[in-house]
Symmetry: C2
Subunit: 339 residues, 2 copies
DNA sequence: TTGAAAGCGCTAACAT
DNA sequence: ATGTTAGCGCTTTCAA
């Protein structure tokens, strides 16, 4: 029931156009190496036959794909999507295609994709997930294709890296809350062991130390970067004998959770308490109240990492193999000065 | 300076293992066709040489890739990310890999990717963008590889399709607002000409007609699915001699914009006015007030479309080539009964 | 259960 | 400017 004709190949076109396959190939890939008349003849033959290039054959022959794979733990995470935008645009600019692999935070799928990447499925690899080739196979064969990691550095790896200066950023935000006159400044943490969390918490500590304020363990609450964790933290703070003056949540979702939690208890933010977040995700500005937060230049992270990768792929020496991008405080309505 | 050794090929492994290349190939792809002893020898040789398969070669030979391409207009759009999750999981379940192409709403990039897809870069195509192969090339050669479109139907195409029953959904939501006792029900539209917009507006009209309420043009405002459009609409409503009782925004971002706009003018939602959205994006529940909205089963759209595609790829007859998924009202705090 | 051998469809020397 | 030719690295009949 499938009476399809054989797909036309390059020699079908060549025959019809009355030239050699080499000429067809050139007419398609490097038109200016071919006489206009010939080019036209080829174009006509392509039309007529309905020829489409076979990529597998080309890739096999050229040993290149002009494609780059971005491995993302979770495409539905609003954080990564902006980074991807920067990657996508930059690649396009340089004539590469982007393919995205969503691993769903599943190590198996991660390995799968990485393996395929090594198998020549793409020319380069962008790792957005802070780990790869986990302990599973310890043969530790170094990545055979150019690879750059971004957003999270991979523990125990010296892969080229582009990230936000998380520690500095967290220090700055804490310092900002202190400058606002707050003294009891709480902190809602990210997942234990997470590398971002470590950096941000270190920054928080740095700022308090600079003001000779002791860490108050009752103000430091666990979290996991979810809205729910923020709500839970709010409840926990409410059960304290004395509320903090301000809380720095180590990401925006938790900051929003805090606001909801406090609002639900009849406490207004920022009148009763100041709340600051981290990331400046899309909805931070739209929130009620609009969130004061640390803006990570997610787009820029993608752009820089991609530039680095392209240099690597094309055999140039990248300007730098380690980039730490500054983050800036975005002051909105969830914090206020205490005077 | 690049003293890399030649990548090992299958015959290197074969030689080392003392077998033929055919046996190596089988040991890798269909282990149970090979004697355990041989299999072990091959495995050892693979280890020793550090052999990795060359995908281009395999794809060329087998004429398959076991990969599927999802073409997305904008990965940073929260709507699509959930759909992608459903796609990704379903594909994985069936042994396919997903690659995502972000076209950045750019027709050129769209065509690029589609072309590569036809060139055998993948086995199937998932179109999330509501158009493809736009007027540019009118040679209208039918897609050579299995293709399913989702989310938005493509005008003037009879591609297999999975979508939300937008018209029904919009009718239901409008009906709901009417049931709540609202009479002057406003509508904030999506981009003119957008197919979703047409369906949703039709549903809005259906509901009003069923109650014999005339369309009031002053209550129907243009929009473009952005938060800003919602804010602008709020301002426009505020300048009316009489405010509507309720407004149905044709997506969540605009509903949030409306709430901000009214809140900024000192009007409380839902006390002064009810606001309903469409989509139930991630932040709808977290918003202040939590948004009453139409929940599209985005994950399910992805799942069903992917099943359909796999059937197509593997030569089975899909159960259906046209699926319209119902959407359900999620009642939250941005609407209230008027009594 | 294994091996020999013939391509899959293209591109890039090299020659003309 | 164009043609000839030799593979790229794998899988898969077919035969043993």
């Amino acid at each position: 029931m499938d009476e399809r004709v054989r797909k036309p190949r390059i020699d079908d076109v060549a025959r019809l156009a009355g030239v050699s396959t080499a000429t067809v190939s050139r007419a398609l890939a490097t038109p200016d190496q071919v006489k206009p008349t010939t080019r036209a003849a080829v174009a006509r033959a392509v039309q007529e036959t309905g020829y489409v290039l076979n990529l597998a054959a080309r890739n096999l022959r050229t040993r290149r794909t002009r494609a780059v794979l971005a491995v993302v733990p979770d495409v539905s995470n609003v954080f990564f999507t902006q980074v991807l935008r920067g990657i996508s645009d930059t690649l396009h600019l340089h004539g590469y295609r982007l393919v995205i692999a969503d691993t769903g935070n599943d190590a198996r799928r991660e390995r799968d994709h990485a393996e395929f990447a090594q198998a020549g499925w793409v020319d380069g690899l962008l790792l957005l997930n802070g780990r790869l080739l986990s302990p599973a196979s310890s043969d530790a064969r170094p990545a055979a294709i150019p690879t750059v990691s971004l957003c999270e550095r991979i523990t125990g790896s010296d892969l080229p890296l582009v990230e936000t200066a998380n520690r500095d950023a967290a220090r700055d935000m804490t310092e900002h809350l202190l400058q606002l006159g707050h003294r009891r400044v709480g902190y809602v943490a990210g997942p234990a062991g997470n590398i971002l969390e470590r950096d941000r918490f270190a920054g928080y500590r740095d700022a308090l130390a600079a003001h000779a304020i002791d860490l108050d363990p009752s103000l430091i609450l666990p979290g996991d970067y979810t809205l729910g964790a923020g709500e839970a933290a709010a409840a926990a703070y409410l059960s304290l004998p004395e509320l903090p003056d301000a809380v720095f949540a180590s990401n925006d979702a938790m900051a929003m959770g805090l606001i909801r939690g406090f609002a639900g208890a009849g406490l207004s933010v920022p009148d009763a308490i100041s709340i600051a977040g981290f990331d400046d995700i899309e909805f931070a500005a739209a929130y009620n109240p609009a969130l004061t937060t640390m803006r990570q230049e997610r787009n820029e992270i993608g752009v820089q990492a991609t530039r680095m990768l392209i240099d690597l792929i094309e055999g140039r020496e990248p300007t730098s193999l380690q980039i730490s991008l500054p983050a800036a405080i975005v002051k909105r309505n969830s914090t206020r000065s205490r005077r």
